[in-house]
């Protein structure tokens, strides 16, 4: 493949943002149309990734690799069945998020669009990067636009929320950076060359004592991002204060970066430590499920209700990831996509209501469905998708997750089912109070029915919800090989470890390359020291 599609998809939004710098800020409609078309173009290009993706290939695909800074730091992109869908989710939601802010954002439209586009590049880079350094760069870069989006276009307590968001995330990622340094230096000691290529690092068998520390550093960074209980406190603030489009991207995609980090880095790099930590992490995930659900029940603000529902849903995804079996992992990845769609859609629905009444409190609503019947139907579908109604996407993911969790631990699975019950309770109750009942607030009588633009960004999501609910095989098929590989890798490293019992050196062994595609092996640079 000669055309670097993956780079094109990743950097197209950045190119658009650079172009925007030179367009006068007064031409807001031109800017909006351009931003939307660039985002759509990125989506179309990413569809090429989907259609050209080879289901059976084991290694990463669409690989691009060039030297960059030396010392094992390369520009190295590539996707497998896990990151493919997260990239698609991002490019799919971005145009919709831009559409949703068409009239909601009135001030400084130019800067707003620039930051949204930069954010997209940052997120796509995180999912596409195969070099740990590159991954870290994108991981941090993405913070800056999000910081501005919440801080400038957010609600009343936006500055507090955005600072908290940045500082929390950075706390985790800086400690992860130290762990990356450590991996970098021990790889050099063991192999004699520098590399931060994740496939090279995957081959290392580390001393379990050291794995514990490294796993802790990586896991903290990812757990904050997911967020897992008790690191979730930034999330409700950030969600509630962010502008609608910001919340959509935050909930739908940003949170997935944490889960993706566990799948891609923390678990396969440090399988022995992971094995020791997993029960505890599982308990935290379970607490997250129940705590998030209970908190969602008592929220007065619709947005923070959806935010806490994210904590609960992400808890289930994490629990499934920690179960480490085929069904659970596929379910987790599928559920990541579902959660992206359904929570994104719920935030969009809240945004539609907020644009009309400028309040997010549940008690200010009631009887909206009489004024907006079409919207009521769409809102209901989104809500039911989040609850996990059979026929919609959420059901498939949750069932797979719960099957997988049940295989590894019956008790956890039984307790985890509470996520469905709780979700049904808080979402249906919220829906009933907002959409049904008598109209108490006079403002609601003047609510305009749903606009075409609003339909344009809700309908694609709803269609996807049905599609993913009825034909899950379209998507699951492409994940199979990658998930099998991932599990295989984790287990193989554990079994190799069992043959060793020396605990003195940092690195016990580097697995000889088996079963890894020749094209994924980098020509490593020789260390310069």
């Amino acid at each position: 493949m000669n055309i670097p599609i993956l780079s094109l998809v990743t950097f197209l939004p950045l190119a658009a943002a650079v172009l925007f710098v030179f367009i006068p800020r007064k031409m807001t409609s031109l800017l909006k149309v351009l931003a939307l078309s660039f985002a759509l173009l990125a989506f179309i290009l990413s569809l090429l990734l989907f259609f050209n993706f080879d289901d059976a290939a084991a290694g990463p695909q669409f690989v691009e690799q060039t030297a960059w800074l030396g010392y094992g730091i390369q520009y190295h992109l590539g996707i497998d069945g896990i990151s493919l869908f997260l990239i698609l989710l991002t490019t799919f939601l971005m145009p919709l998020a831009l559409l949703s802010s068409w009239s909601a954002v009135k001030d400084n439209v130019k800067e707003y669009l620039i930051f949204m586009l930069l954010l997209e590049t940052g997120i796509l880079g995180v999912f596409a990067a195969l070099n740990l350094f590159l991954f870290y760069v994108f991981w941090e870069v993405m913070l800056i636009p999000m910081y501005f989006l919440i801080g400038i276009w957010g609600g009343k307590r936006r500055v507090y929320a955005t600072m908290k968001f940045v500082l929390f995330t950075m706390l985790g990622s800086l400690l992860m950076l130290v762990a990356i340094f450590f991996l970098h230096s021990i790889y050099f000691k063991a192999a004699g060359v520098y590399s931060l290529n994740i496939f090279d690092l995957h081959k290392m068998i580390l001393n379990p004592q050291i794995q514990m520390w490294l796993f802790a550093a990586f896991a903290l960074a990812f757990a904050i991002k997911v967020p897992m209980f008790p690191f979730h406190t930034w999330l409700p603030d950030a969600h509630v204060q962010a502008p609608t489009a910001g919340s959509v991207i935050l909930a739908a995609v940003l949170l997935k970066m944490g889960a993706y980090g566990f799948l891609r880095f923390a678990l396969p790099l440090f399988p022995d430590a992971a094995q020791k930590f997993l029960p505890w992490l599982g308990i935290l995930a379970l607490i997250g499920i129940i705590y998030g659900g209970l908190m969602a029940l008592i929220q007065k603000d619709i947005k923070s209700l959806v935010a806490y529902s994210s904590v609960s849903h992400m808890g289930l995804i994490m629990l499934a990831i920690f179960a480490l079996n085929f069904e659970a992992l596929e379910g987790a990845i599928y559920q990541m996509l579902n959660h992206g769609l359904s929570t994104g859609a719920l935030f969009l629905c809240v945004g539609i209501l907020y644009e009309r009444s400028h309040t997010r409190l549940i008690k200010d609503y009631g009887g909206v469905s009489r004024q907006m019947p079409v919207f009521a139907a769409l809102f209901m579908i989104c809500m039911l998708s989040s609850v996990g109604l059979p026929g919609l996407n959420g059901f498939v993911g949750e069932i797979l997750c719960l099957f997988g969790i049940f295989q590894s631990n019956h008790l956890l699975a039984i307790l985890a089912v509470s996520t469905i019950i709780l979700a049904a309770a808080y979402l249906l109750w919220m829906y009933q109070r907002v959409m049904h009942g008598p109209i108490t607030n006079e403002k609601i009588r003047s609510f305009a029915p749903i606009r075409k633009r609003e339909l344009a960004y809700l309908l694609p999501i709803v269609v996807m919800m049905f599609w993913m609910g009825i034909f899950p095989q379209t998507f699951l098929r492409k994940m199979d090989t990658s998930v099998t590989n991932l599990l295989d890798q984790i287990q193989r490293k554990q079994s190799v470890f069992a043959e060793h019992d020396i605990r003195k050196t940092e690195i016990l062994d580097i697995i000889p390359e088996k079963s890894i595609e020749p094209d994924s092996l980098s020509e490593q640079e020789v260390g310069h020291e």
Binding site: R25, L69, G70, Y71, N108, E111, F133, Y136, V137, E140, V141, L143, I144, Y147, F148, G151, I152, R158, V159, M163, V166, L167, M170, L171, L174, L175, L177, V178, F181, F182, H184, S185, F188, H528
Partner: protein, 478 residues
Amino acid sequence: MNDIMALLPLSIPLAGALATMLLEVFLKRRDKSYLAYLSVVFLLANILVSLRFWGKDYTYFSGILHWDDPSLVFSMLLNLATVFVVLISMRYIGQQDANHGEFYSLLLFALTGALIMVSTADLLVVFLGLEVLSISSYALAGMKRNDDRSSEAAVKYFLLGSFASAFLVYGIALLYGAFRTTGLLEILQGFQSASGSLWMALLGLGFVLIGFGFKIALVPFHMWTPDVYQGAPTPVTAFFSVVPKAVGFAVLLRLFRPDWPGLLDSPITAAILWGLAILTMVGGNLLALRQSDVKRILAYSSIAHAGYLLVAILARDAASLMFYLIVYLFMNVGAFSAIIVMSRSGHEYTELDDYAGIGFRYPWLGACFAVFLFSLAGFPPTGGFLAKFYVFAAGVREGLIPLVVIAVLASLISVYYYLRIIVVMYMRPASPNLVIDLENSALYLVLFLCLYGVLRMGLFPGNILLFIKQAALAFTML
């Protein structure tokens, strides 16, 4: 190669200093900008000379003056910093009622002192250079003659600086007493062979460290920094934040040579440096949290950066130290230039609240300042991130993991106060009487160059990195 040419990089700025001083007296022109252009020509010529010297190892005065590759890197860095400072002060000096001729010649004198320090292999000559640098600096700090703060800064800097110099001389004397030499290499050999009185030598080394601790503002010798940085004219502050620091680390690099097994391996010196680094990183960043004056925030931030640089010394990595200093030059001068853009006739706007709403009122200025602040905080894809990355990675490679963990946590603290400035710039409404001078092309040139430097160093530092690595070979163990 022993050659009188070796004097060239020192005599060019000296000639420039004398020329600007004399020309100002005899050419009574109203428009003084020609002095600035003249200085820039001299400085650029000097950078060119440094480039021509590359790899030639010129020495003179029986080896006391030695232009090896690392000192040439430092020389170029110092010259470039001075070019930037000259350019950003062109309009500023007139606005703030300071005297042109003296200003440029003092700057060039200070630079000469700094160049003496980076190119010598003898501690006594280091002291000589330091005095040339310091005395010019004291005068520069007080350039705003009618401003109390500026005079206070000058006096404070002078008093504490003299103290520091006294410590340094005393330290050199003790080292001489122990080893009968003031040559840097001979002193290191002395430590290695433990030929003289080791306790006297260690005491001397401690005093030398205290002297330099003052100059490069390490905690607990940092007390003068915020006041001097705040009171001095802003371009001079930019100069102070880069030049003495770079020079100080150049000397420390020769004292704690990465390729020399002696000093860094001794538990006493290592412990002292660890302590200083931790205090400086944590202290500098914590103290910056409560400040409301942008110049003071940057003063404390420069203290914290000295702490990160100390990590590079401890990590025995000359290349990452030099890279950090180059990036630091761009981001710090850039940040101070953004402050100068805000200044107007007779007044400087340095309170945080003065910056409210700049981000949208003047998007280019806001964006530049924000990029510099992000770089100082160490966000990718700016040079500040890569600089920290190399230093901390070197630290971990050397096994200084606890130190690096403290360093990253300290830089997390710093994120808070850098972002505070950005919060004010972007997330507060602009005050209606916010007007800036848009016709200061020299200043905008510097802003642009610094922006380019910061981004270039963060994304494609390729050639510069090679250059630095080649220079660092001088410090590599064979």
